[in-house]
C-alpha cells in the first residue's frame, strides 16, 4: 500500500498531516508554567480539562450535525437544560443513595439518572428533528430562527413542568471533596468528568474511524450526494446523528448540572455560548477539532481565571478571535465538496 491510499486516512493520528493545532494546544497548555508554579498549574490544568471535556460532550453532536447536513441547531441548548432537569428528577428521588459517602452506591444513583436523561433527550431530539428542523433544510436563516423558537418553547415547557425556580442539585457525597496525591489535590468530580469525557471521545473516535457507520458519516460530511448516489439513505444517517447529538447534550447537561450544583431553564443557552466558541475554533463539522477546541477553551478559561480573574470571560472571545485570524475556518477546516 502506498501512503496516498485514502483508506489509510483513518489510521493516521487525529490531527492528520497538520501538526500546527497540536503545537498551539501544547503552547497554551505549557506556556503558563512560566507564570504559575507547577503544582497550581497541574490543578488548573485538570480543572480546565474537566471543563473542556464537559463542553466537548455537549458540542460534539452539534458539530457533527452541522458537518453532515449543514444544519445549525441553536436549540441544542434546550437538550442541555432538559438533560439536567431530567437527571435531577431521578437523582433527587434517590437521596438515600446519593447521600451516602460511597462511590459505588452513588454510581447506582447517578447511572440511572444519566440513562434516563440520555434516553429522553434522545427521543426528544428525534421529535425536534422531525417537527422543527425537517421543514427548513437548506435555509440557514429559517433554521436559526426556528431553532431559537424551539429553545424558547422548550425553556418555557421546563418552567411548566418543573416550576419557575432554579433547582439545587447537590453532587452525590462520594463525588464531593478532593483526592490528594502528595501535596497536589484534585477535586474528585473533575477527575470523573475527565474520565467520562475521554471515554466519550474514545467511543466517538472509534465509531467514526473503525465502523461502517462511522465511515458513512465521515463520507457524508465530505460529500453527502455521493453517499446517497451509492445507495445509502443519508437522511436516516442524519436523524441518527441528530438523536445521538441530542442524547450527548443531555448527558453533558447532567454533568454540567452536577458540576454547577444548581440548574436553571436558561443554563443550556448560557453554555451554548461556550459550545459555539468551541465548534467555531475547532472548525464546523470536525469532531477532532471540537475536542481540541474544547480543551483549549477549558484551559484558557482556567489559566486566565487564575492569573487575571477579571479577564476570564473575555479570554474565550479573545482566543476565538486570535484563532480565526490565523485560520478563518477553524483549527481543522472540514473540506466539503
Amino acid at each position: 500500500m502506498t501512503t496516498a491510499d485514502p483508506t489509510l486516512a483513518a489510521k493516521k493520528p487525529i490531527w492528520g498531516d497538520d501538526p500546527w493545532p497540536m503545537v498551539v494546544l501544547a503552547a497554551i497548555a505549557f506556556l503558563p508554567l512560566l507564570l504559575i508554579n507547577p503544582k497550581t498549574w497541574l490543578v488548573l490544568t485538570v480543572a480546565g480539562l474537566a471543563m473542556g471535556m464537559m463542553i466537548f460532550i455537549m458540542a460534539s453532536g452539534l458539530t457533527l450535525v452541522f458537518g453532515l447536513m449543514g444544519v445549525i441547531n441553536f436549540g441544542h441548548g434546550a437538550f442541555i437544560s432538559l438533560g439536567a432537569f431530567l437527571g435531577a428528577t431521578v437523582l433527587l428521588r434517590m437521596t438515600g443513595w446519593t447521600g451516602v459517602d460511597s462511590i459505588p452506591l452513588n454510581l447506582v444513583a447517578v447511572l440511572p439518572a444519566i440513562v434516563f436523561a440520555v434516553l429522553v433527550t434522545g427521543a426528544l431530539g428525534w421529535a425536534f428533528e422531525r417537527v422543527i428542523i425537517r421543514p427548513v433544510y437548506d435555509n440557514h436563516l429559517k433554521q436559526i430562527l426556528v431553532t431559537i423558537g424551539g429553545i424558547i418553547v422548550a425553556e418555557q415547557m421546563i418552567h411548566v413542568v418543573w416550576g419557575p425556580d432554579q433547582i439545587a442539585l447537590p453532587r452525590p457525597l462520594g463525588f464531593k471533596g478532593a483526592v490528594g496525591f502528595g501535596e497536589i489535590v484534585f477535586e474528585k468530580y473533575r477527575l470523573l468528568a475527565c474520565v467520562l469525557g475521554l471515554a466519550v471521545f474514545a467511543g466517538l473516535h472509534f465509531m467514526l474511524n473503525r465502523t461502517k457507520l462511522g465511515l458513512l458519516i465521515r463520507a457524508g460530511v465530505e460529500n453527502g450526494q455521493m453517499v446517497e448516489a451509492l445507495g445509502y439513505r443519508i437522511r436516516l444517517l442524519f436523524v441518527l446523528v441528530f438523536v445521538a447529538g441530542s442524547a450527548l447534550a443531555g448527558l453533558g447537561g447532567v454533568m454540567w448540572g452536577l458540576y454547577q450544583e444548581i440548574i436553571t431553564a436558561g443554563m443550556g443557552m448560557e453554555v451554548m455560548v461556550l459550545v459555539f466558541i468551541v465548534i467555531i475554533i475547532g472548525g464546523l463539522g470536525s469532531v477532532g477539532g471540537c475536542f481540541v477546541g474544547a480543551i483549549l477553551v477549558g484551559l484558557v478559561a482556567n489559566y486566565t481565571g487564575f492569573l487575571v480573574p477579571k479577564l476570564a470571560l473575555a479570554s474565550n472571545i479573545g482566543l476565538m478571535v486570535v484563532i480565526l485570524m490565523w485560520r478563518p475556518q477553524g483549527l481543522f477546516p472540514v473540506i466539503r465538496q
Binding site: F74, G266, M320
Partner: protein, 350 residues
C-alpha cells in the same frame, strides 16, 4: 407629499395602512386619550422598540443576516447616557457627550465584528455575535465599579423632562403637560423620524443592493457589488439605530441595568417582534412592536383569568399561567416562521 415622506414605500394595503395609522395615532394621542402613567410607559416603550425592531429588520429582513448582538448596541446607547449623567450630573451636555461616545463605540464595534465575521459564512456571524454579546453582558454586570453591576445605574435627567415640571399653568384638554409628557413626545417624534429615515435607507439604491444580497449573495457579488462591504455597512447602520434606541430608553426609564438593556430575553423579544410583525418590511416593526408590547403588558392579565377559570383541569392552569405568555408567543413565532415568513405585514399586503 405622503409618498415622499414614506420614500415611495406606501403600506400598499388598506388594512395595513389602517393598522399603522391606528398605532401611530394611538401613540401620538396617548397622553390625552389614555391618561395614566402605565399607558404612557407602554406607549414610550412601543416607540423605542419600533426603532430597535426596525433597525434589526434592516439586518434580518433586508440583508438576511442574523445577529444576536443587537441588544449589545442597545445597551451601549443606554449605558453611554447613564454613565455620562452619573459622572457629569443631569445636564444636556452629559446626554450629548454620552450619546456621541456611545454612537462612536457602537459603530467601531459593529465595524470590527462585521469585517471580522461577515466574510466567512452568515451562520458564523450569528454564532460570533452571540458569543460577543454574552461576553459584553457579563462584562457589564461584572464591572460593578463602573456600571453598578446587576443593580445597574439610577440617575436623574434634566428637570425639564421630569414629572415635576409643568409646561403650562393650566391643564390642556384636561391633561397636565408635565416634563414627562414632553419627554414622551420627544421620544415619539424621534422614533418616527428615525423610522422614516430607515424607510428612506431601505428604499434607496443601497437598500436594493441589500435585498439583492439577501436573495442571492453570490449573484450580487457577481454583479459587481462587494457584498462584504454592503453587509458590514448595514450592520453598522443597524448598530447606530439600536444605540439611538438605547439612548431613548435610558432617558425614559431613568435607570439602566443589564436586565433592561442587555439580557438575552430582550434579544428574544426583538426576534419575536420582527418575525411576528413581518420580516423584510419596515412596517412590520410598527405592527410587531405594538402587538408584542401590548401583549406583554395586557395579555398576562387575560391569561391569569384563563388560568383561574381552568383550575382543576390538569396541566392547563400551568400552561395558561400568566408567566407563561412567552410560551405561546414562542409557539406563534415558530408557526409564523414556517407558515407566514413575511409575518402580519406580508399577510396583509397580499
Amino acid at each position: 407629499m405622503l409618498d415622499r415622506l414614506l420614500s415611495g414605500d406606501m403600506p400598499r394595503s388598506k388594512a395595513l395602512g389602517l393598522l399603522v395609522l391606528i398605532v401611530v395615532l394611538g401613540l401620538a394621542l396617548t397622553p390625552f386619550v389614555f391618561p395614566g402613567t402605565r399607558s404612557l410607559d407602554v406607549a414610550a416603550r412601543i416607540s423605542v422598540f419600533i426603532v430597535l425592531v426596525a433597525s434589526y429588520d434592516l439586518l434580518l429582513g433586508y440583508t438576511g443576516i442574523v445577529s444576536f448582538a443587537h441588544t449589545m448596541f442597545f445597551g451601549i446607547g443606554a449605558y453611554g447616557v447613564a454613565l455620562a449623567i452619573a459622572r457629569m450630573g443631569p445636564s444636556w451636555e452629559a446626554i450629548g457627550i454620552g450619546a456621541v461616545v456611545a454612537l462612536v463605540i457602537s459603530a467601531l464595534l459593529a465595524l470590527i465584528i462585521g469585517l471580522f465575521s461577515l466574510r466567512v459564512r452568515a451562520i458564523f456571524f450569528a454564532m460570533v455575535t452571540l458569543a460577543v454579546a454574552s461576553a459584553f453582558q457579563i462584562l457589564a454586570s461584572q464591572l460593578s465599579w463602573l456600571t453598578g453591576g446587576e443593580d445597574g445605574l439610577t440617575y436623574r435627567i434634566p428637570s425639564v423632562l421630569t414629572p415635576g415640571f409643568r409646561l403650562f399653568e393650566e391643564p390642556v384638554l384636561g391633561v397636565n403637560i408635565t416634563g414627562r409628557t414632553l419627554l414622551f413626545y420627544g421620544i415619539f417624534l424621534t422614533a418616527m423620524a428615525l423610522f422614516l429615515l430607515m424607510l428612506r435607507i431601505v428604499n434607496s439604491p443601497f437598500g436594493r443592493v441589500l435585498q439583492a444580497i439577501r436573495e442571492n449573495d453570490f449573484r450580487a457579488e457577481a454583479l459587481g457589488y462587494r457584498t462584504v462591504v454592503y453587509r458590514t455597512v448595514a450592520s453598522v447602520l443597524a448598530a447606530l439605530f439600536a444605540t439611538l434606541a438605547g439612548i431613548m430608553i435610558a432617558l425614559w426609564l431613568r435607570y439602566t441595568g443589564p436586565a433592561t438593556t442587555l439580557s438575552f430575553s430582550i434579544m428574544v423579544d426583538i426576534l419575536l417582534m420582527v418575525v411576528i410583525g413581518g420580516m423584510g418590511s419596515m412596517y412590520g416593526a410598527i405592527v410587531g412592536a405594538a402587538i408584542f408590547i401590548l401583549a406583554q403588558n395586557y395579555l398576562q392579565a387575560l391569561m391569569k383569568q384563563a388560568s383561574v377559570a381552568t383550575q382543576g383541569i390538569p396541566l392547563l392552569p400551568e400552561l395558561l399561567h400568566s408567566d407563561r405568555w412567552l410560551l405561546w408567543l414562542g409557539v406563534l413565532f415558530v408557526l409564523s416562521v414556517y407558515f407566514f415568513p413575511t409575518g402580519i405585514v406580508g399577510r396583509l399586503r397580499k
